[in-house]
């Protein structure tokens, strides 16, 4: 049984149907990427999974539990953490407070401290800026903070919405290295990216989303060689 199974999900904004029957699965231990152009519905898919949007129909099952009928703040407790598009750090709180909030629902103090050490090891920059107000961090540092904050939830499934957005190539490289490392330590990742090139390099499998529908579902390897993906998303003829 997959860790996450999204089946025939339809999500609306008012009368606009943004997801027109999306189905996808994520197996335990995988990195799965969801690529697609602007407005394809990638963010909407992640927001529906983590409960910020409720689908009009369809099911979202995480380990036997129906997420479509669970409140957003309870979904965190089931082991789903999200790094939202545009990072969404709490800009008036300190780095330390942001990281604390990532572990908001947890009570196992010892394990929280270990996770904090792990996050600060992955992102030494955050350690230097520990007492700084998050709003004063650079864009790249905020991305590290948002990722670190999600890891503080010790998630089974990490949802990432365009971590590469607005970052210099070298930083993108390092964020993706970190994701690989996090994955190696047992966290399953569903990664939304416009940077298909990078995403397909670290993913096991990928889905291509077009106007609210899954257009392709293949292994990352196969997608890298798919003519349509090469032309539209990788920019190679």
């Amino acid at each position: 049984m997959p860790l996450l199974e999204v089946r025939d999900v339809h999500t609306y904004y008012g009368n606009i149907e943004a997801l027109k029957g999306v189905s996808l699965t994520v197996e335990k231990g995988e990195i799965v990427t969801l690529i697609g152009g602007n407005g394809a519905g990638k963010t909407t898919t992640l927001r529906t999974i983590c409960g910020l949007l409720k689908p009009r129909s369809g099911t979202i099952v995480l380990d036997g539990k129906d997420l479509a009928r669970t409140k957003a703040h309870e979904i965190v407790n089931l082991g789903v953490a999200m790094v939202p598009e545009g990072r969404g750090v709490f800009s008036r709180l300190t780095v330390a407070e942001n990281l604390d909030l990532g572990a908001y629902t947890r009570t196992d103090r010892g394990a929280i401290r270990r996770d904090l050490e792990m996050v600060l090891r992955l992102f030494p920059r955050l350690k230097e800026r520990f007492r700084q107000i998050a709003g004063t961090l650079s864009g790249g540092e905020q991305q590290m903070l948002a990722t670190g904050r999600a890891l503080m939830a010790h998630p089974r499934l990490l949802l990432m919405d365009e971590p590469s957005m607005g970052l210099a190539p070298i930083l993108v490289e390092s964020i993706f290295d970190t994701l690989r490392e996090v994955n190696r330590e047992g966290t399953t990742i569903l990664l939304v990216e416009q940077n298909a090139h990078m995403a397909l390099q670290i993913a096991n499998r990928g889905y291509v989303l077009q106007t609210g529908q899954i257009a392709l579902a293949k292994s990352a390897e196969e997608l890298q060689h798919d003519p349509m993906v090469r032309k539209v998303y990788l920019g190679i003829d």
Partner: protein, 366 residues
Amino acid sequence: MPESALPARTRKRITPYQIAQVVIGLGFLAFVAWRLYEVLVVERTYGPDTWLKFAISGLIIGSVYALITIGYTLVYAILRMINFAHSEVFMVGAFAGFFVFEALKSLPVGTGEHAFIEVYPIPSIILGFVAGIATSMVTGVALERIAYRPLRGAPRLVPLISAVGASIFLQNAAQLMFGPQRRTFVNLPALDRNLGWTLTVGEKPVLITYTGVFTFILAIVLLISLYLIVQRTRLGRAMRAVSENKQTAALMGIDVDGVISRTFAISGVLAGAAGVMWGIHYGQIHAYVGFIPGIKAFTAAVLGGIGNIPGAMLGSMTLGLIESLGPGGLGMDFQLKDVIAFSILVLVLIFRPSGILGEVLSEEKL
């Protein structure tokens, strides 16, 4: 008009509003300077003892305002709305304290010669505060559930109208239930309104009432506790997160509705305590007793920078001092202290709408 001319012109143009601002500002400053000169230099109306009395009463009323102001500011920080019914949350707390003290006054103890309130003065005070605080807390939480939560996500004006409606409803309900007459708080044996310490200033006595000192100290203790809750506790962190972005807060596992409820509960606790203090120190309450302190506290919130907790405290103390020193300083009738307070509101809105410490704007798009 050619389009290329636009940027240059908008940069240089002085608007009629700016001219009005300068005229009003200079006029106001000239008026204040003239009155201060008359009162302080020419007429020397008051001696230092009187000024001290004014200042003390300013600090006391300022500390009561601060407790109420925090309620406006916390709710604003979290929901971006002005809870206009907050003054009634204060009022019901005052009534709860009143009825508990009345009950304890007529409750015989032991052989029946003495009332509970005489035999156990300190527990009586505690009971009065517990009742006031609990009543205001429940009222605040219920208010949010019934009048505001169903309107969450509606345009900003809608919950505001609901707040005004709830305020009028609560005033009228209180008048129906408790009667239209003014009620006089019992003069507590342990805290007699007419007693206090006497200082001698320039050979004149200045009475510092026990109730005044009690009110001031209790208010400061509550304000410090509130500040520590917001800055240091898990709930406080959650409140600040919700204030910044509700959706991201939910992604952290924060129960946003629960945090909003607790914010109203905390606001209610402070307003309830302020209500009972008001009764103990000033003596009289009625169904509309919340109106003036409520609108003053709102003024103080704007003055300090709404949504900002240190600003709420600073604004309240400033307003308390201005309205008690102001009439004397300007040589005006003491009835005009409310006029002075509301002139402050108008001036702040004209010159610095973000208040002294400035509103900390949220990233959240509404």
